[in-house]
Symmetry: C2
Subunit: 608 residues, 2 copies
């Protein structure tokens, strides 16, 4: 294993005991001890060291020591005494390195010579005890807020027990250039902390405290950063220091898995052999499975008939129906226990077409995705399946005569394309609140899908955050969404159903056939169309079609998006029909608030 992988205890929620167990179980080699975690712990430092040894965790860093330097000699003397006490703790812990971050205090030293002298003094005391100081520029430090400045101070101090700690957040949030690391001697690169973040325009301290993310979850170029650090000769652990409002209160076992996955993904971006098998290309949606019961099953089946689908197959051994239209396939599975409440229908599985299903599954397992056992009958194809963070099962498939369709015995109904649906455009999945960023990384790292921009929109019952992930050529698209805040008790309707969006080349014809077939279509408010007419001035025939068929319409800089929606079925799911015009690459989010209000209105009319 080329790298030691480490995580700061501050990344994980809970008490120190919770954190250690989570880090060890996820496979980390070591931890940074975040001092407040130790202070709040009943374990004395020696007990913590013993516990870490039991769990196979090295203690890589003690952090942070704040506000060391001072223009007031008495103040600096106090700070040295304080450092001596922390060196005592470090000796008991057996940790060689302490992170000293640049001062934010009013009495911080501005003069580089004086700062270097004070750093050399404390390094001298550390060195006498076999310890060393990794000096880090906080992005909001009073006089040292860039890595260049921290390196200037360390270089001038010129003490063997003094080196740099590089933190990707502090460097990249200030627009620092990692290419400059090449000028730092390798033996001065004492420690490396990795964090990603979204681009935000806000006070950098608040940005850091509330919005850090694991590598691959944000907008920073972490692969480029890491390459620069390694090229400069850094040979220490890759250590994550990431915290945000969500991670601070999430299950640390999940967060730790998310964390190690982010490091595996990051390492894979480096040149050379990777620790995990490469991601085979995903070439399309093979099916979506809905879990149904005796109440919701017939309701969904009627809707599929209305949408022009045919019930073409029955599973050999399970109560699963196959419905088809073009390359759009829906499985209705009455044996899935997850939707426990009566009358519920929910997306329970995605079939994704893989160029090498076994390799897809092997990669997923290497990236700590839960691999699902499959109970197979004799005549059934082997299906590799994993579980996504939201509980959805993901099957890696090959749709050919010897593949998964062979599990289904044909019915009397022949596949047809009554309504002109040609395949699955995308699937919309609502995410558990705590798992939004985890899900983004999961689909990116495990499946090799590319994340699209995060957008937010004001829905009737609260802000919604949305991010899509898509495969090459957009053959696979998933639209993930989550409430911007975890919902509370007030909400008059289930506001966030999942959906399956089917593609058509001619939504006007499709809509006419759906109306004729009695599909359960969602009425679109007339006010919406009036506004659309005023706002986008669509061509008269397009506007007429929108009015006549209850369509919605969105535009981006590349093209347009015509779509229509069914009522909510089985309390949790609806179907959408979409036609992309030109290069439109979105998901109709601008129309989502109207759709949500209309769904609520329709439920009210139904007496729900």
């Amino acid at each position: 294993m080329p790298f030691r992988r480490s995580v700061a205890t501050v990344c994980l929620s809970g008490t120190l005991e919770d954190k250690l167990v989570a880090a060890a179980r996820a496979g980390f080699d070591g931890i940074e001890v975040f001092e407040p975690d130790l202070i709040a712990s009943p374990w004395r430092p020696r007990e913590l060291a013993a516990r870490c040894a039991d769990l196979g965790l090295g203690i890589e860093l003690y952090q942070p020591f704040r506000d060391l330097d001072s223009t007031d000699p008495a103040g600096f003397a106090r700070n040295l005494r304080r450092a001596d006490r922390k060196f005592d703790v470090m000796a008991e812990l057996g940790v060689p390195t302490v992170l000293v971050c640049s001062s934010v205090s009013d009495d911080a030293v501005a003069d580089l010579d004086q700062l270097a002298e004070q750093l050399a003094t404390v390094a001298g005391r550390a060195g006498e005890r076999g310890l060393r100081i990794a000096y880090e520029a906080l992005a909001w430090g009073r006089h040292v807020s860039t890595w260049d400045r921290s390196w200037a101070a360390v270089a001038r101090a010129d003490h063997p027990a003094l080196g740099l700690c590089l933190d990707s957040f502090h460097v990249l949030s200030r627009g620092g250039d990692p290419a400059g690391f090449a000028d730092v001697p390798a033996e001065k690169l004492f420690f490396l902390q990795l964090a990603d973040a979204p681009h935000l325009q806000m006070d950098v301290l608040q940005w850091s405290r509330h919005h850090r993310l694991f590598p691959g979850q944000g907008a920073f170029d972490l692969p480029g950063f890491l390459r620069c650090v390694l090229d400069a000769g850094y040979a220490g652990p890759l250590s994550l220091e990431v915290f945000n409002d969500v991670f601070r209160q999430s299950d640390p076992a999940r967060t730790a898995v998310d964390a190690i996955r982010s490091l595996l993904w990051l390492e894979e971006q480096l040149p050379g052999p990777a620790a995990v098998p490469a991601a085979p290309e995903l070439t399309g949606h093979s099916f979506v499975e809905l879990g149904v019961d005796g109440v919701s099953g017939p309701q969904v089946a009627r809707a599929l008939h209305g949408l022009g689908f045919a019930h073409t197959g029955q599973h050999r051994s399970k109560p699963v129906q196959l419905w088809e239209q073009g390359r759009a396939r829906v499985l209705l599975n009455a044996s899935v226990v997850r939707p426990a409440a009566a009358g519920i229908a929910a997306v329970t599985a995605l079939g994704l077409e893989s160029s090498d299903p076994a390799a897809s599954a092997a990669r997923a397992e290497a990236l700590h995705a839960p691999v699902l056992p499959r109970d197979r009958g004799t005549a059934e194809a082997q299906l590799s399946a994993i579980e996504a963070p939201d509980g959805t099962q993901v099957f890696f498939t090959r749709t050919d005569p010897g593949g998964w369709p062979a599990d289904f015995l044909p019915t009397d109904e022949a596949a047809r394309a009554d309504a002109g649906l040609i395949g699955i455009d995308h699937v919309g999945l609502t995410q558990p609140f705590d798992a939004f960023d985890e899900a983004g990384l999961f689909y990116r790292a495990v499946l090799g899908l590319a994340p699209q921009t995060v957008t937010e929109f004001a829905a009737p019952f609260g802000l919604v955050r949305s991010r899509a992930v898509a495969g090459p050529g957009r053959a696979v698209r998933l639209a993930l969404s989550v409430s911007a805040l975890r919902r509370g008790g007030w909400s008059p309707a289930v506001p966030d159903p999942q959906y399956v969006a089917f593609a058509t080349d001619d939504i006007v014809t499709t809509a006419g056939r759906l109306q004729a077939a009695g599909a359960p279509l969602l009425p679109v408010p007339a006010n919406y169309v009036d506004d659309l007419a005023a706002r986008l001035e669509p061509a008269p025939e397009l506007l007429a079609a929108i009015r006549e068929h209850g369509l919605m319409y969105d535009e981006d800089e590349h093209g347009g998006y015509l779509h229509l929606t069914t009522l909510v079925l089985g309390d949790r799911v609806f179907f959408e029909v979409v036609q992309r015009l030109g290069g439109y690459d979105g998901y109709g989010n601008a129309d989502a608030p109207v759709r949500m209000a209309a769904h609520r209105q329709a439920r009210a009319v139904q007496g729900d």
Copy 2:
């Protein structure tokens, strides 16, 4: 009634129907129709107008019309056509005024003459139809981002159907000076939108979208702003335009009450007679009532004995015990149904000493606080009580022989002061997630308590936000706290108990007596004391006392704070003993994470 009170529909969660009902029930006179709410509604404009008329709500403003002006003549022509369509909607709604906000578009007009000409053109079209344009500078507008600039454009356009909309957020977030309103002719002040906000350093658009607050909940000088607007001759409605991530998903009925309360409070800050009775001074904590049951009652009683309290009284008609020590009084009420789960103890009521209890209650009622019915026995004092947003009952009391103590028959135990506790220092109340800002305004407006700064700290199971409210001379102090994010499923212990903090003048003596009496004290980790010694270097005798008695210690710029804590009792409550040194004005928040981890550890030891 001197002012028309209005609220923008965007302030309230839900669909338009939910919003109208909430606004009408809270007593608003009118609304601003936020266009997206209308677009998503099944009501055509005439139906909305009829619905508002039924509910007694005027429609004061239609908003917003975005990106009107354009350097591209064809673009401006399109925007004029769009405006005409919106004038059609306004005519059906019967609303006279539309808010036009400054453009954020790339083709926005920079030249003031051209902008004035385009504004005059659209005002001309509006004027022909009896409508008018209220032009507002968005704080992030492309070329018009300050109110001065918006006024310059309106003045230059010089059209009777064109005036200003002043929004306190847009003016104050940019540091605008409301004193300048005096130079604007009164007839040009078409509309006023009010919003408060915390001081934040971030992109102003994001600040506005996610962090607006009702007047009195933030840091802006809304009273000063409003005085300037009124002095300039504005005679229209006071209208709230406030949205943030929490309000967007909270019960609109609660939000609407919060909103009207903020306006009543704001109006009271103006010179002249107020619409609500003044707040009598609150001079102290008379008691705290804990709801207990057969399991938790004896546990709490044992703890009170250990803390030196005596069970001095028994209620004449209810299963309520009075416990006393000095002026610290605790009621244990076994008849309160709220803590339904077995073994629970919880703070159910606060007794606050009022110079005029009836007037306190009358003010609370005028400010829409729920007034509680009291079932009284013949010999019992009249007690006025209201309900706070977290469900805690607040009693306005006078503690004299004829007052509430007369409801209690003396027991054999005499009051004593075994442990030196002299009164209640403060009560710590955890707030429902959605009600934190509502609670701050409630205590400020209804009780006349002054809000202290909001602080955040990283607790073991997530970020906690805390704000205290305090009365004159700090005779009444309440420490309110809430999770920065609503908690999810993961949390290994009840992380947020309430507490009652008793004051002592000599915590060392008190602690010795508590230990001798076997009070259920929380052990403080040795690591905490080691860090304290290194960090603050307390005097040797103080440090020795801290070690010996398991104290915690905090400092601010005014003084020090020694405190100790009991175990959690009845699953939800603990007691604290505090000694303030010098002018320390905080609540030991710096120590709270250690206390929380220690509470969790103690519960684990107890096998909880």
